[in-house]
Every structure is written in structure tokens, then in C-alpha cells.
């Protein structure tokens, strides 16, 4: 049987693309004929199973297309007309208002994505959602087809690769006096990196211990937002806030490896992979209670109920210095991580997909 994955953009290192590659492997291992078709493909992607969307073969009614829905695109309307069985994998779409001040094109794409998701409500036979939050959203848009929660597939084995030694040495240079607090994720207004800077300011005012706040992530397309963040940090006279820009995978691993805490104050996440990545490196997570974040964290890590910078700084201070709390948090995170193991999630995915396929086609 042929099962194809279709998405708008296959880039390098983002959660949707990584999920797509992981699903491809699961499908190959299960004996399906599969390939990934994307309209835009990052030049760094070297995979014989990745092809341009316009080379999609002639589809039969029995073929299956798994459509990754995560942005606005003309492809969203093309998908309606494919003469095959269609299942959606919904990763959520960032509300456009986050981007209106910074990038008109992204804001427009997000708004389009929202409208197109509504129009697609009767297109799919069934669907996978990264989180209950995403599933509830599709239900509120009028999706009546069977939907299941299927967490993003993360090949945690990849995180055992060798981290960038240069970054490790740089971060560990003053490890006895300075602790590293990181956030990993592209520089984007929905991720609210400005609130992390505010916490850095409050921390500096309240406590004597030194903490370095590192914002790991690319600012491609959100340069205006990054400029404003840097300006904000300068105005607050903070010399302990660092931006890494786009970096290699081994460098990201190095930042996780040398981090003492992971601080996430994002206001919109459909799943939030970095939280699990931090857990994978035994980095205690402190995250704001928003969208799908608490669901991904489960009972592990620490949830912030409000964004008051002083309160967040106090939580962070305890989390950094109180060894018994750190140990309990890390133990809880290790337990939580089991839920998202590659084996568990891939088995669940395959089982559900087979159930979907067995159902009578619409």
C-alpha cells in the first residue's frame, strides 16, 4: 500500500519536518511504500524519499495521503481535490495577531491557514493531532471525522550524538559562578522571548547569583522582533542575555547539555518539543501555563500560573539552587519522558493509522 506524506515546507530541524522524517521511517519499517512530497524543500535535506510536490504520482483511490497542516498555503486547497484517501496531521497554526507588528507575510499566512483549516473540515477521513489542545481546536472548527491525539514523534536517539565541544567549553568556562538558563525555539513573538528578558531583569534585581539567559533559535523572518528584543535587553542594561541565532544541531545539544534550567514563557504552542528535549537532557523545566504546554509536561516540571517577572524569577531561583527540588523535578521528567518514547509513539501511530485505513473509505 502507498502512504504518502504531503506538507508545504520541509525544512531543516523544525518540529514538523522532524516529525515527517520520523513518520517516514516508521512507515518504511512497517513495509509501506512511502515518500514525502513538499512544495518547498530546504537545500540541506538530502533524502531520496523527499520529492517536490509537483512530482506527486498519479494517485489511486486506495492510496493514502497524510497531510501535515501547520500553515496557510495554496496547497491547502489543492489537497481537497486529491483523488485518494486523506488523513490530516494537525500541528496547529499560530494566531496571526502575534506577527502583525513584525512580519506581514507571516501574519497573512497564519490568517490564511486559519481560514483554510476551517474550509478543510470535511476533507479528511480522520486525523492525528499533536495534542488534546489541537484536537479541541479542530473540533471547535467543526471537524466531525475521527481524531486522535498522537504526540510528535521524536527520535531521542539523535540527542545522544556528540555535542559541539566549542560551545560546551565556552559555556563551562565560568560554570562555578554562572548558571545557564536556556530557551530553545525560533525567535518568534508567540514564544514571548521578551518575557524571558523581563525575568532576567527581575532576577538581577532580586538575587546575587549570576545567571546567563540564552535564547537559542533562528530569527529568519522575524528580524524586526529580534531587533526589538535586543534593544529591550540593552535598555534594561542586561549583559547576561545572549542570542545564538541559527546554529547547528550539535551546538543545540551543547546548550542543552550545559543548561541548569529551561525557561519557556511561550503563549502559543501546539505541542512544544523543546520542553521534552530539555527533559531528555535532565534540565529542569519551568514553563508558563499556556495552550498545549501543560499537557506536554503532564505532572512533571514546574508550571508558572502567571507571568509576573519577580514571581518567575523566584521560581527560577529555587529551581536553580534547591538540590532536592531539582532532583524531584528531574525524576518526574524522566518518568514523563517515557510517555513520549519513540517506540511507544510510533507503535500508537501505526496502530491508529491501520485502524483508519481499515475503515471504509468516505
Amino acid at each position: 500500500m502507498r502512504v504518502f506524506q504531503v506538507l508545504v515546507t520541509l525544512s531543516f530541524g523544525d518540529a514538523v519536518s522532524n516529525d515527517c522524517f520520523a513518520i517516514k521511517q516508521v512507515l518504511l519499517d512497517a513495509g509501506y511504500t512511502t515518500a514525502i512530497y513538499a512544495e518547498n524543500i530546504d537545500k540541506r535535506v538530502k533524502d531520496s524519499h523527499v520529492k517536490k510536490y509537483n512530482s506527486l504520482p498519479k494517485l489511486k483511490a486506495s492510496d493514502v495521503v497524510l497531510y501535515h497542516l501547520s500553515t496557510g498555503s495554496e496547497m491547502n486547497s489543492k489537497i481537497m481535490d486529491l483523488p485518494c484517501r486523506k488523513f490530516v496531521i494537525y500541528h496547529n497554526i499560530t494566531p496571526s495577531q502575534f506577527f502583525t507588528s513584525y512580519n506581514g507575510t507571516t501574519a497573512r499566512l497564519c490568517a490564511m491557514g486559519h481560514d483554510e483549516t476551517l474550509k478543510l473540515k470535511d476533507t479528511f477521513e480522520a486525523g492525528f493531532c499533536d495534542s488534546q489542545f489541537n484536537l479541541d481546536q479542530l473540533r471547535s472548527y467543526g471537524y466531525t471525522c475521527p481524531l486522535v491525539v498522537r504526540p510528535v514523534l521524536i527520535p531521542f536517539e539523535d540527542y545522544k550524538k556528540k555535542p559541539d565541544q566549542e560551545v560546551i567549553e565556552k559555556m563551562n568556562e565560568d560554570k562555578d559562578t554562572v548558571k545557564n538558563v536556556i530557551f530553545v525555539g525560533r525567535i518568534a513573538p508567540n514564544k514571548c522571548q521578551q518575557d524571558i528578558i523581563s525575568v532576567a531583569y527581575a532576577y538581577k534585581k532580586l538575587y546575587d547569583d549570576k545567571v546567563r539567559f540564552i535564547l537559542v533559535g533562528s530569527s529568519n523572518g522575524t528580524e524586526k522582533y529580534q531587533n526589538k528584543l535586543e534593544f529591550y535587553s540593552q535598555l534594561l542594561e542586561l549583559d547576561n542575555v545572549e542570542f545564538t541565532g541559527q546554529i547547528s544541531f550539535p551546538a543545540i545539544l551543547a546548550y542543552y547539555k550545559t543548561a541548569s534550567a529551561f525557561l519557556c514563557l511561550s503563549e502559543h504552542e501546539g505541542f512544544c518539543v523543546p520542553v521534552l528535549e530539555a527533559m531528555c537532557f535532565d534540565v529542569p523545566v519551568l514553563a508558563y501555563n499556556s495552550t498545549a504546554v501543560p499537557e506536554t509536561m503532564g505532572d512533571s516540571g514546574i508550571i508558572l500560573e502567571d507571568k509576573d517577572p519577580a514571581t518567575a524569577a523566584a521560581y527560577l531561583h529555587e529551581l536553580l539552587l534547591n538540590e532536592s527540588i531539582r532532583k524531584e523535578v528531574i525524576d518526574g521528567q524522566r518518568e514523563r519522558l517515557k510517555r513520549f518514547s519513540y517506540e511507544t509513539v510510533s507503535k500508537e501511530f501505526l496502530k491508529t493509522l491501520e485502524e483508519f485505513i481499515k475503515r471504509e473509505a468516505k
Binding site: 523581563s198 527581575a202 531587533n227 514546574i302 519577580a310 521560581y315 534547591n322 524531584e328
Partner: protein, 123 residues
């Protein structure tokens, strides 16, 4: 009590909530030349900004004349650029021809010199 409860309690005891005021509001922060959500834009201008079909056309005799003048000016620049390009191409071709000719002449001189040497040795 789990870690979450302990932290909640400890933070409550520390009573730090709302004790730190950030002196600058990120939302109201403006980089020069940047339009953000707080920038006041007149309703009529807003319509112009959001209108996808909008075409910019000069209105009034002066604007039309200026537009024509600028159009003519740009056209002249385009024409001049074209003629410069064509002249440059001619120069390049001529230069290549000269190089070839130089090569041919050098060969002839060499041949002539050879002949002279042969003649002299025959004498």
C-alpha cells in the same frame, strides 16, 4: 507535597509578586521607523494600507507632469544604459579580435626571423 507545591509555597513566602516593575514596556517600545500595534494610523490610510487591489496613480496635473517627467528620465537612463552596454560589447569583441591579430602577427614575425636565420646560415 510535590516539587510544584513546595515551590509555590516558597515563592508565596518570599512575597516577591509585583515587587519588580520593569521600567520599559516591551509592547510600547518603538524602534525608530517601526510601525507597531500602538502606532496611530488614520482610518482612510488604514484602508489604503490593507487594500490589495490598490494601484498608485498620480492625481492632479502637477503630479501627472512630474510622473511623465520621471518616466521620461527613467526611460532615458534605460536607453543610455542599453547603448553603453552595446558599446561595451563592441569594445570587447574588438579587443578579442586585436588579441587574435596580435597572435597572428607574432607568429609571422617568428616565421620571418626563422627564414632570415636559415638564409644567413645558407649564405
Amino acid at each position: 507535597m510535590n516539587a510544584r507545591d513546595i515551590l509555590k509555597q516558597k515563592t508565596a513566602e518570599a512575597a516577591v509578586k509585583n515587587t519588580i516593575q520593569i521600567p520599559f514596556s516591551f509592547t510600547h517600545l518603538k524602534l525608530s521607523g517601526q510601525i507597531d500595534t500602538n502606532t496611530h494610523i488614520e482610518e482612510e490610510n488604514m484602508n489604503i494600507i490593507t487594500d490589495n487591489e490598490l494601484e498608485l496613480k498620480p492625481r492632479g496635473i502637477l503630479a501627472k507632469l512630474s510622473s511623465l517627467f520621471i518616466g521620461f528620465f527613467v526611460f532615458r537612463i534605460f536607453q543610455q544604459q542599453k547603448s553603453i552596454n552595446s558599446a561595451y560589447r563592441t569594445v570587447c569583441i574588438e579587443s578579442e579580435k586585436l588579441v587574435l591579430e596580435e597572435e597572428t602577427l607574432r607568429k609571422r614575425i617568428q616565421d620571418a626571423e626563422m627564414r632570415i636565420v636559415k638564409l644567413e646560415s645558407a649564405r
